[in-house]
């Protein structure tokens, strides 16, 4: 993502064939996710794999479609680390507390 950051200051956007390739990769990954949906995996495993695949897809969309790859690297540093940090904080404070529900057994139903 950072390799091209200093190469150009203007809009040296990728070619249409590059975007088409990215699109095909995204579509194929979506197809893999659908196939995965029919594997009988434990919900936690399944959700983890699906989210990881989706994070990869999101990275492709941000890097190519949203031109992040062609921006100055400082824009990336201004936006992405803070966002990831905030999401991590939501996870860290949310999930341990949320697990209390599991200990309540069937109280939820």
């Amino acid at each position: 993502m950072s390799a091209h950051g200093n190469e150009s200051s203007g809009h040296q956007a990728g070619s249409s064939s590059l975007f088409l390739k990215v699109w095909i990769v995204l579509a194929v990954l979506t197809g893999i996710e659908v196939l995965l949906g029919y594997e009988q995996l434990a919900p936690v495993t399944m959700l983890t794999i699906l989210v990881l695949l989706s994070v990869f897809k999101a990275g492709l969309i941000i890097a190519y479609f949203m031109h992040m790859k062609y921006e100055r690297i400082s824009l990336f540093f201004a936006l992405v680390p803070a966002t990831v940090f905030c999401i991590m904080m939501i996870c860290i404070f949310f999930f341990p507390d949320s697990l209390r529900i599991l200990q309540l057994g069937t109280g939820l139903r």
């Binding site: 029919y38 699906l50 989210v51």
Partner: protein
């Protein structure tokens, strides 16, 4: 816009340059996207834990129409992202006619997505899955499913209006290449959110045979 871009970016003591050397419009859209990312993250995290904590979470999505329809919706939205990219590229070449064409194609993708989504919602209503109740007796499913997909659908609808306004303006020689790029950022973000909603909500609730 050209005035801002050409203004000398002097030393830090006189305000300096914008740190990422991005125009205020683009940075503004990026900051909106960051805040919206956190909104959807919170919603999807809340959903994840409800889903995992609940062993009898409803699984209403059969292969057809549920999964096939939502897979088709995913492809339509992805395709509209591709046409948006081509629209931005056309505007960078200053080809306004092609830009309008691509943006209208993008908006059409958004409309198809919303229409398919609505028919899917009505199928679910007929099967007894409403925002308040469902046959499995897990009302949280309705709250999270219709809440999340509804908020996303609202984003798509706003995006369609945004794109139509852009297309009307561009054909009347308004807006710059950067304005189109900023609207593209919003549209790709809507697509990006769906890349999480589709696997996490639909594929986690496939009807088992």
């Amino acid at each position: 816009m050209t005035k801002e871009a050409q203004a000398p970016l002097t030393g830090v003591w006189s305000g300096g340059g914008a740190p990422p050397l991005t125009s205020s419009k683009k940075l503004g859209m990026w900051l909106f996207i960051v805040s919206d990312t956190l909104t959807f993250s919170a919603i999807l995290l809340a959903y994840s834990y409800l889903r995992l904590a609940n062993p009898d979470w409803p699984r209403p999505f059969a292969f057809y129409p549920g999964i096939m329809k939502s897979f088709g919706m995913t492809l339509v939205l992805l395709l509209s992202s591709l046409t948006m990219v081509l629209g931005v590229a056309a505007m960078n070449r200053n080809d306004r006619k092609a830009t309008v064409k691509w943006i209208l194609a993008t908006a059409a993708g958004g409309v198809i997505f919303v229409v398919l989504h609505m028919t899917e919602w009505f199928t679910l209503f007929h099967e007894g899955y409403t925002p308040w109740s469902n046959p499995e007796g897990v009302p949280l499913f309705g709250a999270t499913f219709f809440g999340t997909t509804g908020l996303h659908m609202l984003h798509v609808s706003i995006g369609v209006i945004y794109l139509l306004v852009m297309a009307a303006g561009i054909s009347r020689n308004k807006f710059t290449a950067e304005d189109v790029e900023v609207s593209g950022l919003y549209w790709h973000f809507v697509d990006l959110v769906w890349m999480f909603v589709f696997p996490m909500i639909y594929l986690m609730s496939i009807k088992l045979r």
